[in-house]
Symmetry: C2
Subunit: 233 residues, 2 copies
DNA sequence: TGACATGTCAAACGATTGTTTTAATTATTT
DNA sequence: AAATAATTAAAACAATCGTTTGACATGTCA
């Protein structure tokens, strides 16, 4: 019986097969998702035997989980949530950076985009691998956005209005994750590559800031001083 | 050799097995998606034999396509895109109805929600059945929203700003399609049932209207009279 | 009743999948 | 060089899937 190497320990990089499996798996998983991906196709692309995945990673699910972490670190290393913006910058500037980094991670090409594509599928069909990702990366991201929006609105991060505005901001970003198919069908004039990041990020930031600065208040909330009171028909 | 009935002709409703297969398939497809769904599970729930799907529908894909149309008609019959709003109502009111109907279709329970759940998966993993759906239902919806937003912005429906604002509006709605999993993990205080429709629809409409009425203009666009000019840092 | 189309059923087919086995090969250490 | 561990390779295993088959039941119409 073969003893498999303990996964999790930092393997020497010279382990070429293992690394090529990761790279091949990234392309395949990002393209067709966890369930549709076949170990045979991954191994074919990696130039390895069918048994290679089980030898190096144990099983398909572990390979997937390890890849999700790998691609996440790669994407956030290149595009951190606030890019280079200083911690004491005005919240409007932080929001712009948050949005731009989000889109940059989506529209980058090759291995950087793996994480986004895998996340799109995790939303609809979560894997066990999602749990640790939420705790380590996604929850801090959510808290960061909450604090930015809270500062812009002048409210507590736990406020309902803050939560709803976070949804509004994030939703406009993930939209270009999930709905690429539909966008290119219904709006073929919309570019969906790296050149689209600046105009889209600019729009989302402007749209959201304009909304938050001029949001009328429903009955249950207090008005921000200076903003117009209620516009209804 | 058995001759299968021509699918597409309006079958007499007394065909009990066929109808029960549709109902069972709706639950299964909406729950686990096309690929994860098994004919055996569908037939089990319908109380039918494994061969029933092939006899009544030809194959799994045809059953899925027929169900997608079936569930779409059901959902839009109950919640049309503008609900009851008059054709000459102000665009702000139409936008509110558009958003509300969208969320109602998402958060309704049972068979009405099938369509939304199936669409979530179609976004990430399109089926051939999507093509006709786009032409018959989704494109008219997109054109409707485009005309509403164009009227609010006072621009042509082909204007880039109109397109981007359509994205912003729709994205906030479909967000509650795709990201339910993540929302309930990161914001467990957010309700995600029918009782959430009114507050969410209200927020999305207010947020979007406030944004569109106070949107500063980037270089490439003309300013709307009365709105503040540019706010950048 | 007999002929025939319609619908249902149990069983099997053929293909694909993740995984395992077992032997051969390569690399490393003694 | 010999011995031992690590890695690769071909083949098969076991399970699942969509689909088909052919027998059987049911209903309809002559």
């Amino acid at each position: 019986m073969n003893l498999k190497p303990l996964s999790g320990v930092p393997a020497p990089v010279q382990d070429a097969t293992r690394h090529q499996l990761l790279e091949a798996a990234g392309a395949v998983f990002a393209e067709v998702g966890f369930r549709n991906a076949t170990i045979r196709e991954i191994c074919r692309r990696a130039g390895a035997n069918v048994a290679a995945v089980n030898y190096h990673f144990g099983d398909k699910e572990t390979l997937y989980a390890e890849l999700l972490r790998y691609s996440q670190q790669k994407a956030f290393a290149k595009y951190p949530p606030l890019l280079g913006v200083a911690a004491d910058a005005p919240p409007e500037e932080k929001l712009g950076a948050f949005v731009r980094s989000f889109l940059l991670r989506i529209f980058d090409e090759g291995s950087i985009a793996w994480f986004g594509k895998m996340m799109s599928r995790e939303m609809v069909e979560p894997t066990r691998a999602l749990d640790s990702l939420v705790a380590e990366r996604l929850r801090p991201m959510a808290d960061l956005l909450r604090s930015i929006v809270a500062e812009i609105l002048g409210r507590s991060p736990q406020d309902e209005a803050v939560r709803l505005c976070c949804f509004s901001v994030v939703s406009q970003c993930v939209f270009y994750h999930h709905c690429r198919t539909m966008i290119s069908r219904l709006f073929p004039e919309q570019r969906l590559d790296a050149s689209a990041v600046e105009p889209l990020a600019g729009h989302i930031a402007r749209f959201s800031l304009a909304a938050m600065k001029h949001l009328p208040d429903p009955e249950t909330q207090r008005s921000k001083p200076g903003s117009a009171r209620r516009r209804r028909h």
